[in-house]
Each structure stands twice: as structure tokens, then as C-alpha cells.
Subunit: 496 residues, 2 copies
């Protein structure tokens, strides 16, 4: 990387370029491609400043969730006062729920453009991990793209981490679209299928802005792969059976439409299920490539995947890195404003599968909060995909905490996806196809097919009494006094 | 209209083609371009059947809201068992809220494609009003396009109403896009500015499917123009001042970006305000052209409007019809799947202004329901525009029913637009810019700037107590027992 080799410094020297109060845009998406060392050095700086009685904190923007070495260490050092657009780190989550960090939970397709619009203020510094800096100054991204392009373009100063853990053969796995413009000068995205290239294989950076380059050799966060449990397998069966049903009714082609699946066990189970199914020539247009999707590629069933990031177990990451050449031409990583773009999602006709925390009997979905007040992670890309999908599924076990919590409730304690956006709810109990149903008809179906038997009668009773109590409110009958009482009961007695 | 003149019959004869249980797709959007006579004849048929003790009802699809001669008369005759995707008729609303009609309240950009996908079932008959049938069989639409293209394409049988009240000069005012496809064969919409044509000036119909043509001469629904009251003018001032503020901060061009405004008094007041402002060369990419927007064209400030429909007072409709030639090249009516298309709304960077029923302190917006249970109209296009807009405003007086209801509440009793989608709330009290704010910061701003002084202290007290009660729930602090208590108090005592 001759072009920028004169800027190579230690992580500590690099972190010294970040000042108290700065807005910092860092790379990273679902624990992949985040800077490994500068955040830790920055956290140490903050702690030293705090030790001297000085204030030191930044506003932190990323692609999405990162890892203990970024969100964890900075939150642990009280070095972040504002965070966007997504996180899933336990320490950061605690800081948000304790009121110490302001969290802006945004659609992942909105973050880059709203930063460009100037809605978030000026970006002071970008900290971006790449696999390599080419002699001509172009950057080869590694295991995620996320918002790296936007942060590199917008920031006054740039710090690069060059992580030699990423194989050099990552070159050619990325498609970075440089055609975005501000309205009114935007033009159509000429993308017609998941593997089509509309951009460059490289990230660009103005070398004048690069204040530091840090060399690292560290793996992405390694989340162990959890084998699917019985409940996940049951949900995967419901989803795949329903896809067959739609093919049989002429509403889906035999090779389906491009798949999107959120992060988690159930999504992995669906992929595993598809790997052992009759389906062939599948494609995916998604955010994240998890173990299950890599297996589906290996099985030969999945021929093309567009994503913005990987999120692999240590074993699968090692497998991918060792066999990276064999995946070339079958995987493309794009900026998240493209992977999650409403225009593309609607055009391609995505089949979207995302987890949920709870759904109410009318199909409003909570993806983010526990008991109204506490955030878990954030909405991520679930809204981008659900709203614009051809078909969307929201999946969850019907109960949590050993049965103490029902995932189907009278009124969702927080709403991220409204009745207008949700189509198909799935629990291990069954599947409720809500398309073209009125709210009352939705309620009957959700209670019958998705609720756990332990809660079914009480949900039906709530619905019956709401109907009886609302002679002029039969569209979405509710009992205002009881609507949130299940959550309140749980709060007080540890059981709904 | 030589091509189809042999099919001219009475409305009664035409209505005889519609059977009990049929799905009927009718034209009409915000009281414009709906069939004037066949629905009434159909209602009479239904009543006769009911008099004989027979069942008779249909499933009714439209563009959006219609008028007493369609929704009103059919609901009054109990001739509809299911309705989508939008309505605003008092008789239909009563039937829905009494539980006699199943209502599917869908995003207006979703209806046409979901009908194509087969999610709503087979369409039996289309009843579409046009301005003229050309000798070659092409149809000149009138004052709305809505879903007419889709219903004409999908239905087994077609009934046309040719309404001579529409000026013949309507020819050339429409742009009907015939490039839609089912996934995976969709392609980009090559539309770059509001007045660009991407389609044909005519609707097409397979003449073999046309079972009846009815000649009519009747005006669209005439809603009297209500002059803006003090409250509406105050809200319009807040909106326009904020647009100036955004220009001054370099976040909007001097001629703004294309405007969308929902139906209603406040939207009209914003247009009137703009007509008396310094702004020039404005454009609009919207659903509906109301009186205020026509005035803005007449003022010379608004140079181009794309919409799917008019919604004018009798005076303004007469004015438009008399001077129609002068508007040519300045107005285009498109199918609602294009006027409301996420791809275009995001690309053009729309400034969206829509009404709301209530917002909660965290910025979740209710656009559709009263006290959780009763529907008012429906979400319409507000979700299409708000989610994909460059900037979105939600506007409402801070109180209703003479102060008995606060439009700002602890927890919205129904949620149509989530915290992730809403940007700027406006009441006559002021404006809350919620961009890039955490929920707690949003709450402080909404309470301070938007709530009515009579409710401000109680909202602040709710927030303070929720913060105190939720040491581990500081992201979106709520008191579950009280969250919906304001609505309950109103239900019981007639006052929040």
C-alpha cells in the first residue's frame, strides 16, 4: 500500500486525531469489518481524560452492530454520548437503557442519505477497516461495506485500519455504487438482479484526508453457531411449506424470488431447511450472509447472494477465508443504502424473513423494545425489507422466558411495523397469512394459528370482550384499560 | 365512441352484469373520477334482492375515497361486505365500525401491485369512469387515474361510464405507465422529474371484455372550500418558516423539492401561504390537486404538478374545466402506483405534508383511528410519502373537541407511522424537528413545541414519572398503566 504507507502509525497515535465532541463514522455491520484497534485506543484516551476530570465522548455512527472491540469498549469507557443507526452490544445497550447514551434507531437504508442531507450534522472523522490499500490508493473492503463509502466521503479526516486477517482475494467481491446524488439530481438505480454490478469493486478515499493508517491482524467477532432447536425447525418448516403453497397457487416462481433473512437462529434454520429441499437456483438480496446462507451456497441451491456484510461463526469464517476464490461471482457485498434500498427491494420482489419480539392480535409488530421502555437492538433493516417486500414473514417463538411471556399480546408495547406492513406471522405453533384481511379477521387467525395454547383462550376472551364493548368500534376493537395490562402483569408478577 | 357504441345501455342494465359475491374494482380517487350511476343501480339491485330475502353484496376495490353516489349508496344498501384500499364516506365508515364491512386499510402504493400478485383474489368486474372513448377504442381518463389501469387489465368484465361532464380537453393530461411487470421481471421507472412522461395519455381496454357502456353527465363530488382558520394559518406559517430555515442551512434548494400535500384544510393553507411567499418555480409530486394547489399554479409559483387525482370545490372544478387548456403541460395525472411509488418519492426527494389524528410524545403517529377501535378513513398515501420523503411533516391542531382532546398523548392509541419514520410534527403551537434525536429528546421537544399549554404540564409530568420509574428503561420511558389512560379518561368522562 505504498500510496499511504507514510501514514502508518500505532492505534494510539491514530486515536489522538479524534477529539472530544467529534462525530465519528466507523465501519462495521453485524460484527464484520469494524475497526479492531483504534476504538480501544480511543476508549483508553477517554478514560485517561475522565481520570483527569475532563469530558471526553463522541457521537458514534456505524453501518450497524459491531463488536466488543468497538461498541463494547467505547460504551464501557463512557466515551459515546450519541449512537446511530443500530447497535446490539450488551454494554452499549445497557448504557442506552440507563439513559447515558442517546440512541437514534433509524432504518438502515436511511442513515447514509440522511447523513448526506445534513440531517445528522457534520462528520468529523471516519474510521474504516479495509482488507487492503492498493498502490493506486483504492481500498479493497473486507467482510462488510455498510456505510463505509459514505463516511469516507463525508468525513473531514480519515483513519484506515488495514486488517490482514481479511484475505487479499476479497478484491472483486464488492460493488460500491458511486452514482448516488442529492435530490433533485438522483437517477434510477439500474440494477435488475442480485448479482448485477452497478458500481466499482473498490472504495475511494481522498488521500489528503487520510491522517492515519493502522495495520491490524484480527478476526471479526466470532459468534458461535447455535444448532437450530426444535422450535426454530418448526418455524422453518412453516415458512418453507408456505412458500410451496404460494408456488402451487401461481403466486411465486419455482425458484422463488430473492430471499432476505434477518440475523438469528430461525433465519439460519430456514436456510438449512431450504438446503435440504427440492428448491433450486435460489438467489438472495439481503443484508447479511450467515452460516446457513453460506451452507446453502455450498449445497448448490443458492446461486447468487447480494448483501452488505457477513456474520459468520469462527468455523464458517475460516471456511470462507480458505475457500474464498470458490465464492467469487456468487457473492457481492454492496453499501447498505443499496442492499436495503426500497427501490431495489420492491423491484426485485424480495421474500423477507425477519424476527420479532412480539406481535399484537391485529398484526402490529414490535421488533425493538421490551415492556415499552427498554431497547433491545434496533429496527435495523427490517422496515426497509418488510415494507417493500413481495412477501414478508415475521417469526418468533410463541413464548419466551419459559412460557412466562406470550409473543402474541393484545396490544404491542412498542410498534415498529404497522398492520399496513405485516403480511405473515410465524411461530412454532403455526403460520397466519394476514394478506387482504380486516383487523378482526387477522386477530382470529393470529390467535388460532400463532398464539401458544396457554395464552390462546385469554387472547380470544380479550377479543370477544373488546368486540362486545365497542359497538361503534368494530374495526380494531380494543379495551383501553386492558390493552397493555399483560405487560404490566409481567412487570409486577414475572408472568403474563 | 364508435368502437363501443353498440354496448351503450342503461345503468340498470349495466349493473345486472355484477353478481352477488363479485369482486368489483371501481375507479375513483378523493371524490374524483368515480362512476356516477352504475353503483346506484347496483345498490337498488341489492336492495331488491334483500327484499326477496336473498343475499347480495360485493367486495369493493377502488383507487381511494369516492363519494355518496358510490361508497355511500352501496354501504347504505348493505351491498358491500369487504372494502379496500381506502374510504372516507360517512355511511361506509359507519358500516365498517359497526362490523358489517371488512375493511383492508392498505398503503395506496401497494394496492395495485398486490392485486397483480394475486393476494386479493380474482377481480370479476371493473367499473371505470372515463371522459371519452376514442374511435380506436382508447380511453381518455377524466379527473382521476387511481387504480383504473389495473382494474381494467385484471377484470374479467368491464363496465365503462363515459361522463360528458369531463371536458374533452382532458386528452393529454394523463400519463399511464404500461411498463409494470411482476417480479423478477421489473425494471427501473425512468422518471426523473415530476412532469416527465413515461407512459401513454390513454387507458387501454380489451374491447372483448367491455360488457356495458353507460353515458353520464354528472359532476364529481363537490366539497365546499373551507377558508383556512387561524389555527391552519399558524401551522402553515410554521411549515413555511421551517422550509426557509432549511434553505438557509443549505439543506434545501431555493425552489424547494417537489411537494406532496395530503387532503385537508391545513395542506390548503400551506399552499395559500406559498402562493403569497417569495418562493418560485415550485413543483409538486403528489396524490391530489386541491383548490390551494390550483391557486398556486394560477399564481405562477407552481410550475409543474404530478398527481393521480383532483379534489376540488365546485367553484374550482368549474374554473379548471373552463380553463383546462391553460393547464396543459403543467399538470399530469398518473396511476396511483406511480404517484405513490417509493422508488420515485425517494428519488425525487419529496417534501411530504400530511395530517394526523394524534402523535405520542415519542413521535409515533396515529393517522387512522379514534380511541384505538374506530377507524376514521385510512392510511391512504401518507405512509408511502412519509417513509420515502426527503422531509416529512405531520400536522394537526394541538387539541380537538373544544380542547377536550389533546393531539399529543403519552402513547398513541393506534400507530400508523412509527418513530423511525416521522421527522417534523406541527401544531398551531409550534414545530418539533425530531431528526436525529433520541426518543427522550424527541419527547422534550414535542411537549415544549407542539402540545397545547393546557396539556403540557401533564405530559411533562408523565415523562418525568416514566423516567423515574424506569431506571433500566430510559430509551423510551413509559408507565404501562397510564400509557393509554388519557384515552380511557376521555372515553369515560368526555375529556382527557
Amino acid at each position: 500500500m505504498s500510496a499511504l504507507s507514510s501514514r502508518i502509525v500505532s492505534a494510539q497515535e491514530a486515536a489522538a486525531h479524534i477529539r472530544h465532541g467529534d462525530r465519528a463514522g466507523m465501519s462495521g455491520f453485524t460484527g464484520a469489518g469494524y475497526p479492531k484497534e483504534v476504538p480501544g485506543a480511543l476508549a483508553a484516551r477517554a478514560q485517561e481524560a475522565h481520570g483527569r476530570g475532563e469530558e471526553f465522548s463522541i457521537e458514534l455512527w456505524t453501518g450497524a452492530s459491531t463488536a466488543p472491540e468497538l461498541d463494547g469498549v467505547l460504551a464501557g469507557a463512557s466515551a459515546v454520548h450519541k449512537r446511530l443507526p443500530f447497535q446490539s452490544d450488551p454494554t452499549m445497550r445497557d448504557a442506552i437503557n440507563a439513559g447515558r447514551v442517546e440512541y437514534v434507531d433509524a432504518h438502515l437504508s436511511h442513515a447514509a442519505q440522511q447523513a448526506w442531507f445534513g440531517f445528522y450534522g457534520k462528520l468529523d472523522v471516519a474510521v474504516v477497516e479495509v482488507a487492503e490499500v492498493l498502490p493506486n490508493g483504492l481500498l479493497v473492503p473486507g467482510s462488510s461495506v455498510g456505510n463505509s463509502k459514505t463516511w469516507l466521503d463525508l468525513a473531514d479526516k480519515v483513519i484506515l485500519e488495514v486488517n490482514s486477517w481479511h484475505p487479499r482475494a476479497y478484491e472483486g467481491f464488492h460493488d460500491v455504487y458511486y452514482g448516488t446524488r442529492l435530490p433533485p439530481r438522483r437517477t434510477p438505480l439500474q440494477l435488475l438482479d442480485p448479482m448485477q454490478r452497478i458500481g466499482d469493486p473498490y472504495l475511494r478515499v481522498d488521500p489528503e484526508k487520510v491522517v492515519a493508517v493502522v495495520e491490524t491482524d484480527a478476526p471479526d467477532r466470532n459468534l458461535p453457531f447455535k444448532a437450530a432447536d426444535e422450535s426454530s425447525r418448526a418455524m422453518a418448516d412453516h415458512v418453507v411449506d408456505f412458500l410451496r403453497h404460494e408456488i402451487n397457487h401461481g403466486r411465486l416462481p419455482k425458484n422463488l424470488l430473492p430471499l432476505q433473512s434477518g440475523v438469528g437462529n430461525i433465519a439460519n434454520a430456514v436456510m438449512t431447511n431450504l438446503a435440504h429441499s427440492e428448491f433450486e437456483n435460489l438467489t438472495a438480496y439481503t443484508e447479511v450472509i450467515q452460516d446457513g446462507m453460506l451452507d446453502l451456497i455450498d449445497s448448490g441451491k443458492l446461486t447468487a447472494v447480494s448483501a452488505t456484510s457477513f456474520s459468520l461463526s469462527a468455523e464458517h469464517a475460516a471456511h470462507f477465508n480458505e475457500n474464498i476464490e470458490s465464492y467469487k461471482g456468487r457473492i457481492l457485498l454492496r453499501p447498505q443504502e443499496i442492499s436495503n434500498h426500497p427501490e431495489i427491494i420492491r423491484r426485485l420482489g424480495i421474500i423477507a424473513i425477519n424476527g420479532m419480539v412480539e406481535a399484537d392480535i391485529y398484526g402490529n409488530v414490535n421488533s425493538t423494545h421490551v415492556l415499552s421502555s427498554s431497547i433491545i437492538n434496533g429496527i435495523g433493516g427490517s422496515g426497509d425489507f418488510a415494507r417493500n417486500a413481495y412477501l414478508n414473514f415475521f417469526v418468533s417463538p410463541s413464548t419466551a422466558k419459559g412460557g412466562a411471556i406470550s409473543a402474541i399480546v393484545p396490544f404491542a408495547s412498542h410498534i415498529d411495523h404497522t398492520e399496513h406492513d405485516t403480511q405473515i406471522l410465524v411461530t412454532e405453533q403455526g403460520l397466519a397469512d394476514l394478506r387482504a384481511l380486516s383487523p378482526r379477521a387477522r386477530a382470529r387467525k393470529i390467535i388460532e394459528h400463532c398464539a401458544h395454547p396457554d395464552y390462546r383462550d385469554r387472547l380470544q376472551d380479550y377479543l370477544n370482550r373488546a368486540v362486545a364493548a365497542s359497538p361503534r368500534g368494530q374495526h380494531t376493537p380494543h379495551l383501553l384499560r386492558e390493552a397493555l395490562s399483560w405487560h404490566e402483569t409481567y412487570q409486577q408478577h414475572g408472568r403474563m
